[in-house]
Amino acid sequence: MIDRRAFLQRVAILTGSFPIVSAVAGCGKEPKGPPAGSETLGPLEDRLNIYNWSDYIGPEVIPGFEKEFGVEVVYDTFESSEEMVAKLLAGAVGYDLVVPPTYAVTALRGANLLAQLSVKYLPNLPNLSSIFRGRPHDPDNRFTVPWQWGMTGIAWRTDRVSRPPQSWSVFLDRSWGGKMTMLDDVRDVIGAFLKYRGHSLNSADPSELEAAERDAIAAKKNLKAYLSAPVKSQLIGGDVWIAQLWNGDAAQAAREEPAISWALPDEGSTLWIDSLAVPRSAPHPRAAHEFINYILRPEIGASISRATGYGTPNQAAMPLLAKPVPYPDPGQLARLEVQTDLGAASGLWDEVWTRIKTA
C-alpha cells in the first residue's frame, strides 16, 4: 500500500514544481535592460525573436546579422497577418519584432501592444523614402519602420487580353467571364469597388458600402474564384487571364511567364506597407532595434527586395537594385490610399462580405 503521506508528498512536489518550472523556463528570457518603449535601452541581448511572413526576407540577411552582432535569431512565420494580430491580442508574448500591415498597426496601437521606437538606436532612419512615412496608421512614425511596400492592381495575360485592364470595371465585363479572379480579401474586394465609385477604401458609409456590395455581387458571376497568392500558378498556366493581384507577385509570375503584365486601375487602389514594429512585451528590445537599423542599410534593404520582388522603402537602396520596383509617381500616388483599421465599421464590412460570399 502506498503510504498516504508519501503520496501527498509526491503530489505536492509535482504541483509545487510547476511555478518553478515556468520561472526557470522564462529565466533565460528575462529582459536585462529597460523595457521596450524606453528612450534608452540596455546592452545588446544574445537572442532575437522575429515573427514575419514566410519567404519575405533575403537568404543572407539573418546569417549576416547573426555573424556581425553575435545574436541568435529565431525566425517564426505566420500565414496571415490577422492570425498574428489575433495571437498578440490574446496575450501571446515573446516576440521582439512583428511585421503588421498598416491596418493591423492601428489595431495593435489601439490595444496598446506596440512600443514606441527608441530612435537613438536607429541612425539609418533617414535612408527611408518619405512616401512611406507620415501615413495615417502611424502619423508620427513613432511605432513602425516600413519593411516592404506594394500596390494592389490587376495582373493580366498580354497574349490573351487585347487591351490593358485600366479600370476595376473589367471585373463587371461578362466577356471575360470565367477567366478572372479577385483576391480573397474583404478589404481588397470591397475596396476595389469603393474606388470604382470614387469613394475611399476606408469608407464606413453604409450607402457607399451598399453600392460596392451590389457591384461585387454582379462581378462575382464573372469570377472563376477568389484567389490570393496561389493565383500566380493559374496565371502562368493560362487558366486565369485577369487577376486582382499585388505588383510584386505579378512581377514574380512574369519571371516564369513573360506574357504577364500588371496595371494600376485609373480609379485608384491600395498602397500597402508592411512594417516592422516592436511589441511592448519584447524581451530583447535592444537586439530588435539593432536589427531594424541593420536592415535600413542600403545593401541589406536591396538584398531583401531582390529576394522578395517587392518594393523597398529604402531610398538609399534603390540605386543598388538592377530592376527596382519604381516608386509611385505623383499621378499614381494621388490615386493610392493606405488601408487603415475600420474600427467599429469592421462589423458592417463583415456583413457586406458575408452577403457577397453567400450570393
Binding site: 515556468s22 505566420f78 489575433a86
Partner: protein, 262 residues
C-alpha cells in the same frame, strides 16, 4: 459471398487509388524542374538539395514529430481509459459520451484562442509544451470515440470466462480486454497522430517563439508561393513515416499477435 467480396474489393481499390492519386502527383512533381508549371520540364533533385538549406522546415519536422508522438501516447492512454470508464456502467452514459464530441464540435479558432487566453492569463510560456497540451486535449476525444465504437457490444463472455478460470480483474483486463480492444486502440492512436501532425490553427495560436511545427512552416510558405521544395519535404515525410511504420511492423511481428477472438 464471393460476389459481395468482389464488389467491396473493387470499391475499396478505387477509394485507395482516389486517396493516393494526389500523393502520387505530389511525389512525382517534387522532381520537376519547373517551379510553377503543370508541364514536366525535366528531372531534378534541386528541390531536395534546397531542403538542406531550409533549416526551418527541418526544425519544424522535428517539433511536429516530438509533439505528435508525445501527444498521441498520452491521448491514447487517457482516451482509452475514458472510453472504458464510460462503457462500464449499468445505464448508458449518453450525455457523458456526447461530451466527448465537444472538442470535435468546437471550431479550431475558438479552441485555439480560448486556450491561448488561458495560457496567457496563467503566465504559462508558449512553446512545445503548450502545443502538446493542446493536442492531447483534442485528441483524447477522438481516441475515446473510436475506442468506444469498438467497445460497444463487445463480448463480455471472454472476461467472464477468465474470471471463472481464476484470473483477477487486473489480469483479465491485461490478457483479455486489452487485446480485444487493441484494434480500436490502434485505430484511435493512428487518428490521434494524424490529427496532431497535420494540425494548423490551434497549433499556430498556442505556439511560442522557435516552436513552429511543420504545418506552420509549410502553410506560410504555400500561402505565398507553392514551391516544389514543399513537395520534396512532403515526399520525405511520407518516406520517413512509411519506413518507420514498416520497422515497427517488422519488430512487432516477432511476438505472436493476439487476435482476441479466442
Amino acid at each position: 459471398m464471393k460476389r459481395q467480396s468482389r464488389i467491396a474489393l473493387t470499391m475499396a481499390s478505387v477509394v485507395y487509388l482516389f486517396l493516393h492519386l494526389p500523393i502520387l502527383v505530389l511525389v512525382v512533381f517534387s522532381f520537376n524542374q519547373s517551379k510553377y508549371s503543370v508541364r514536366w520540364t525535366g528531372f531534378t533533385l534541386e528541390w531536395y538539395r534546397a531542403l538542406l538549406e531550409r533549416s526551418d522546415l527541418l526544425r519544424g519536422l522535428r517539433v511536429s514529430l516530438i509533439v505528435g508522438l508525445l501527444s498521441t501516447v498520452v491521448a491514447t492512454v487517457f482516451g482509452t481509459l475514458l472510453a472504458l470508464g464510460l462503457t462500464r456502467r449499468a445505464r448508458p452514459a449518453r450525455f457523458a459520451e456526447g461530451l466527448l464530441y465537444l472538442p470535435v464540435v468546437t471550431p479550431e479558432i475558438i479552441a485555439g484562442i480560448s486556450l491561448l487566453l488561458v495560457f496567457a492569463q496563467a503566465g504559462i510560456p508558449l512553446g512545445i509544451g503548450t502545443i502538446t497540451i493542446a493536442h492531447i486535449a483534442f485528441n483524447i476525444g477522438f481516441v475515446a470515440i473510436v475506442v468506444r465504437a469498438r467497445l460497444e457490444g463487445m463480448d463480455r463472455s471472454l472476461e467472464e470466462a477468465a474470471s471463472v478460470l481464476g484470473a483477477d480483474e487486473l489480469t483479465a483486463f491485461r490478457t483479455v480486454t486489452i487485446p480485444q480492444l487493441a484494434p480500436g486502440i490502434l485505430a484511435g492512436a493512428l487518428l490521434a497522430f494524424t490529427m496532431s501532425f497535420d494540425d494548423y490553427v490551434i497549433t499556430s495560436l498556442v505556439s511560442g517563439t522557435g516552436s513552429s511545427t511543420l504545418p506552420m512552416v509549410v502553410y506560410s510558405m504555400v500561402r505565398r508561393n507553392i514551391e516544389p521544395t514543399v513537395n520534396a519535404i512532403s515526399t520525405l515525410v511520407l518516406l520517413g513515416t512509411s519506413i518507420g511504420i514498416w520497422l515497427i511492423f517488422r519488430l512487432s511481428r516477432e511476438r505472436p499477435l493476439a487476435t482476441g477472438r479466442g
